[in-house]
């Protein structure tokens, strides 16, 4: 057996991998023909490569895909049709939507006359604008109850009817004709009704609804969440019943609101910032509308 030249030896792996040029292959072929030791070395390298190839693969752990998709959904809620619309136009349509919603809310206020005494609709104007005067006024009144005494029931003098409860203006500026909130019958009600009643609108937006479960034994839990819900979605019902108190009436209560698509992320962030234990689940149902149905389940163990 002869000792192969170092450069020939170093080319053995590349020879195996078919990564040599024709001249190098020719040289190595000649060396291999003349040197059984070199051939043995080549076989060893080949065995190593084959062994690794056969036994080196590892399958991703069970449930890997599902866990990943949950993380993706949590970090990146499904894009709305607005995103699709925005990209080709290169425009921020959210601003238009917010403005349209504000105009619609203003028109509604003008139609219904001044807010009940003791309420201050303007107090909410720095938040997302998509809410109605009655809902905002009602919840504003509730929000004025000091957090230190949340068990004191807050009388609501004027409870809006479901037909006027949630009112998120579509981009066209027309008011909704059929608020979906009235159709939600409890925690498992499928949020699949259009938030508007217009077929045209329904073709524009499509997205799953969401459920947030908020757990806390803090006495101000309900009041804090209601404040937020009022700012974003004009919440007016709890578990299908009208809101009349800021105190939890049981260990679990469900709040249904509709949040305008562009505000959803900000709403979720603010909900998280309340500091409670918050879980988010996307509904399997795809909903069409300018505002997404959002169910907030309050759990006070």
């Amino acid at each position: 057996m002869t000792t192969p030249q170092p450069h020939i030896n170093a080319n053995l792996s590349a020879y195996l991998d078919d990564e040599l040029g024709p001249a190098e292959v020719e040289t190595l072929d000649a060396a291999l023909a003349a040197d059984p030791g070199l051939r043995a070395q080549l076989l060893q390298l080949q065995s190593v490569a084959r062994f690794l190839g056969e036994h080196g693969q590892v399958a991703a752990p069970e449930g890997f895909h599902e866990r990943l998709m949950e993380r993706v959904a949590a970090e990146h809620p499904p894009p709305s049709a607005w995103a699709w619309l925005r990209q080709p136009l290169g425009l921020r349509l959210e601003g238009w939507l917010v403005a349209a919603a504000a105009v619609a809310a203003l028109l509604l206020v003008l139609q219904q006359g001044p807010a009940p005494s003791g309420t201050d609709v303007d107090a909410w104007s720095d938040g997302p604008p998509a809410q109605t005067a009655p809902a905002a006024a009602q919840l504003d009144a509730m929000a004025k109850v000091p957090a230190e005494s949340p068990s004191v029931p807050v009388p609501v003098t004027e409870v809006p009817t479901p037909a006027t409860a949630v009112h998120v203006a579509p981009p066209s500026g027309q008011a909704d004709a059929e608020p979906a909130i009235a159709e939600a019958q409890g925690p498992d009600a499928a949020p699949n009704a259009p938030a508007d009643g217009t077929g045209e609108e329904a073709d524009v937006l499509a997205s799953p609804g969401y459920r947030y479960t908020v757990r806390s034994s803090a006495p101000e839990l309900k009041l804090a969440v209601l404040r937020l819900a009022a700012r974003y979605g004009g919440a007016t019902t709890l578990a299908g019943a009208e809101i009349s108190t800021a105190a939890m009436s049981g260990p679990t209560e469900d709040l249904m609101i509709h949040v305008p698509q562009p505000d959803l992320t900000r709403f979720a962030e603010e909900l998280q910032r309340l500091g409670y234990d918050v879980d988010k689940q996307a509904s399997n149902e795809i909903v069409r509308g300018s505002a997404l149905p959002v169910q907030i389940r309050l759990v006070s163990p």
């Binding site: 170093a10 080319n11 053995l12 792996s13 590349a14 991998d17 990564e19 060893q44 390298l45 065995s47 190593v48 490569a49 062994f51 690794l52 190839g53 056969e54 036994h55 080196g56 693969q57 590892v58 399958a59 991703a60 752990p61 890997f64 895909h65 866990r67 990943l68 998709m69 993380r71 993706v72 970090e75 990146h76 499904p78 894009p79 995103a83 699709w84």
Partner: protein, 199 residues
């Protein structure tokens, strides 16, 4: 049955807002990404964390992927960077702890784990879990740089040019390191595998 979409088609669909396309890309690459992370890092838990982070990063940046290289090459690059960052983090943590607690050892943070027994069934698709362990034990004997290259070549079946692009190394360096890695593995493996009549 329709033929599966190519990577290019899936990326195009994702850019159009089709999230299912992303799911298909994950499905297509999850085993390869996990394998690379596991064979480089030597720990299943860390490998899963890395693989999840890689795919999350992919989701965030896939919209900006311009197709100048293969999607697979791009994904492998992301895995390589995540593994290197993770290794750096482990290394710093290990050293910080070592400074703080002199005389204590912490195998959790060792730069490369020498294959704790992963238990039965952890290399499910392999014919034998034992062979999978032998692979990992042998890889643990290599320098990190050699290990990176041999995993990409012999386990992931990538060409020298792809490896060169992923690791940002000259082709000649890939070639020489790969040869040294195989020669060393041959010495390590043949002692045990010939005994076990595996090779």
């Amino acid at each position: 049955m329709p033929s599966p979409l190519s990577d290019v088609e899936l990326v195009a669909r994702f850019k159009e807002g089709d999230r299912d396309a992303y799911g298909q890309i994950v499905q297509r690459y999850q085993d390869r990404v996990f394998t690379m992370a596991f064979r480089w890092m030597g720990d299943r838990q860390i490998a899963e964390e890395v693989a999840q982070d890689v795919f999350l990063a992919l989701f965030r940046s896939l919209g900006r992927f311009r197709g100048e290289s293969l999607l697979s090459t791009w994904i492998y690059r992301v895995v390589a960077n995540h593994c290197k960052n993770r290794r750096m983090y482990q290394y710093r943590r290990h050293h910080d702890k070592h400074d703080a607690l002199q005389g204590t050892s912490n195998t959790e943070d060792a730069p490369f784990r020498q294959l704790p027994d992963p238990g039965p069934g952890t290399d499910a698709p392999l014919q034998t879990a034992q062979a999978g362990q032998q692979v990992q034990q042998a890889l643990g004997k290599l320098d990190e740089e050699q290990r990176h290259i041999i995993v990409l070549r012999d386990i992931q079946d990538l060409s020298y040019d792809e490896i060169s692009e992923i690791l940002d190394l000259p082709r000649g360096t890939v070639k020489s390191r790969l040869h040294r890695a195989r020669a060393k593995l041959a010495r390590v493996l043949f002692r045990t595998l010939q005994r076990d009549d595996v090779l």
